[in-house]
């Protein structure tokens, strides 16, 4: 088969790569939520907050949100959760 050389039209991800990390136990940890405003996610956050506090030893839950699903949360939300939470949970999908 005859071959030719072409330029690759693709350009891969450019972001710096870093690890998400983990926590061995939720005991005594602060868990932050960013409600993505999709239907039912607010209820899931409410239920998870109760369950994590009652049954998983979580010390504190911070519930934060954003205006609509497809735009980022305000920068202040990220700053606060970065400073105060051990784990931050958000949602994806429907």
């Amino acid at each position: 088969m005859s071959m030719i050389e072409i330029c690759d039209p693709r350009s891969g991800p450019s972001a710096a790569v870093h690890s998400a990390g983990g926590v061995a136990s939720l005991l005594g940890k602060v868990v932050g939520f960013i409600d993505n405003t999709k239907p039912n996610f607010n209820h899931l956050v409410d239920d998870l907050a109760e369950i994590l506090l009652a049954n998983h030893g979580v010390k504190k839950v911070l519930k934060r949100g954003k205006r609509v699903q497809s735009i980022p949360a305000p920068e202040a939300v990220y700053s606060e959760l970065h400073a105060e939470a051990d784990v931050v949970i958000t949602g994806s999908g429907d």
Binding site: P9, A15, A16, N40, L48, I71
Partner: protein
């Protein structure tokens, strides 16, 4: 970590990788999660709580993954491919490159010719395109332009297009990854339209004009090959729409009675520009009326539909006025600002027309803008009158077009450089 509905696992994993966190822990809820009755959510939450504990502990045991600095701009890689367009087409399909249609092979010689359409260096980074945030260098733009069949004269227009869609307010990430039929529309203003041959007249949104199809297709190829919006993976459109192949036109500056969009957006008269719009379809509005108020009332009726994204989130609707309609309005003394005000007034929609669930999210989403919203509230289609987009394009005929916005996107205008 992220809680992901099962149908969106590929998006969740791809997005985490693209944003530089490939080992992001995920937990899952059944899809469609939003349809589960409130009283049945508790067992789901109990399961998710267990998943959270388990995956975070597993991640802690596994330890940190290797980290790496952000990728710097680099010249495009070279590929060895079959010298046969049918075999190349099959190879591109297998590798998920392109839009599904055959392409012109971007040989180094063709790319070099395309780069003659700009004085910029090939490795200049114009933008990172979401959701994969690949770097769009001038060279990568040229490669995709070759594949789409563009001419070198289109290069500076394509560069401005890429720069515009990467603006934060455009929300390319949302446009590309949404389940909505969101696509990207380019409106070209000023001398570049005629220089490059962008059609502003008859069938300007249809086939047959080389520049319209080539430039629109090059943009889509970049959104796929650089932005990473692979259908079914990071592009999660429920159906999508044919405008995702190409959607570009010029303003009909010969026949418009109004100020052009470029000038309206602060670009000096005689300077070329392009305005990028995130939109979700087109609707033919055919009226033989010669009465300005009738025309505007009927168009507003077309805009005011209950499941519209523009109403629940305060979006950005557009009208492409046929020259005949625009000139009827102008002859009766209606400026573009007058037209926008009338469209705003006549398209006010009672919140009660919405489904209860959609009214709930409207109450939450537009609270800071509108205050308390009740069933009797007359909802404006967008957040301010001037966010209703109005241009004149097309040929003879009594057809204007309603272009509903994607919703969470703001149009962006950029000047287009002369090629030098």
């Amino acid at each position: 970590m992220t809680v992901c509905s099962t149908a969106f696992e590929t998006l969740g994993r791809s997005q985490a990788r693209a944003l530089g966190c490939p080992d992001l822990p995920l937990a899952f809820v059944p899809h469609p999660f939003g349809s589960i009755a409130r009283e049945k959510l508790r067992p789901v939450a109990e399961d998710v709580a267990k998943q959270i504990e388990t995956v975070l502990a597993a991640k802690a045991r596994q330890g940190a993954a290797a980290s790496a600095a952000a990728t710097k701009a680099a010249r495009a890689m070279r590929m060895s491919v079959p010298d046969d367009v049918e075999l190349l087409h099959c190879m591109f399909m297998d590798e998920g490159i392109g839009d599904g249609l055959p392409v012109i092979p971007p040989t180094p010689e063709r790319v070099a010719r395309m780069l003659k359409g700009t004085l910029r260096a090939p490795d200049e980074v114009i933008a990172a395109l979401g959701p994969a945030y690949g770097l769009a260098t001038v060279e990568h733009i040229a490669i995709n332009a070759v594949m789409a069949g563009c001419k070198p004269e289109a290069m500076e227009l394509l560069i401005s297009i890429v720069d515009a869609i990467a603006a934060p307010e455009f929300n390319l990430q949302g446009v590309q990854a949404t389940t909505n039929p969101a696509a990207v529309w380019a409106v070209v203003s000023g001398p570049v339209a005629k220089r490059v041959g962008v059609n502003a007249g008859t069938n300007c949104l249809g086939p047959g004009t080389h520049a319209n199809i080539g430039i629109g297709r090059a943009l889509r190829l970049m959104m796929l090959n650089i932005g990473g919006a692979t259908p079914g993976v990071m592009d999660r459109a429920t159906q999508g729409q044919p405008g995702k192949f190409s959607m570009i036109c010029a303003e009909n500056e010969d026949d418009t009675p109004w100020q052009t969009l470029g000038v309206e957006r602060g670009i000096a008269a005689g300077v070329s520009s392009v305005t990028m719009v995130g939109f979700s379809g087109t609707l033919n509005m055919n009226t033989h009326s010669k009465e300005p108020e009738d025309i505007l009332r009927c168009f507003s009726d077309s805009m005011a539909h209950a499941p519209s994204n523009d109403y629940w989130c305060g979006g950005e609707p557009w009208i492409i006025f046929a020259p005949e309609h625009a000139n009827i309005l102008s002859a009766a003394g209606y400026s573009k600002a007058d037209v926008k005000q009338k469209l705003w007034d006549y398209s006010l929609m009672p919140a009660s027309r919405m489904a209860a669930k959609d009214m709930e999210r409207t109450i939450r989403t537009r609270k800071s803008e509108l205050g308390v919203i009740t069933a009797d509230t007359l909802l404006p289609i967008t957040t301010e009158v001037n966010r209703i987009g109005v241009i004149c394009a097309g040929g003879p005929g009594t057809h204007s077009v309603y272009v509903p916005g994607f919703g969470n996107s703001r149009s962006v205008t950029r000047a287009v450089r002369d090629p030098g």
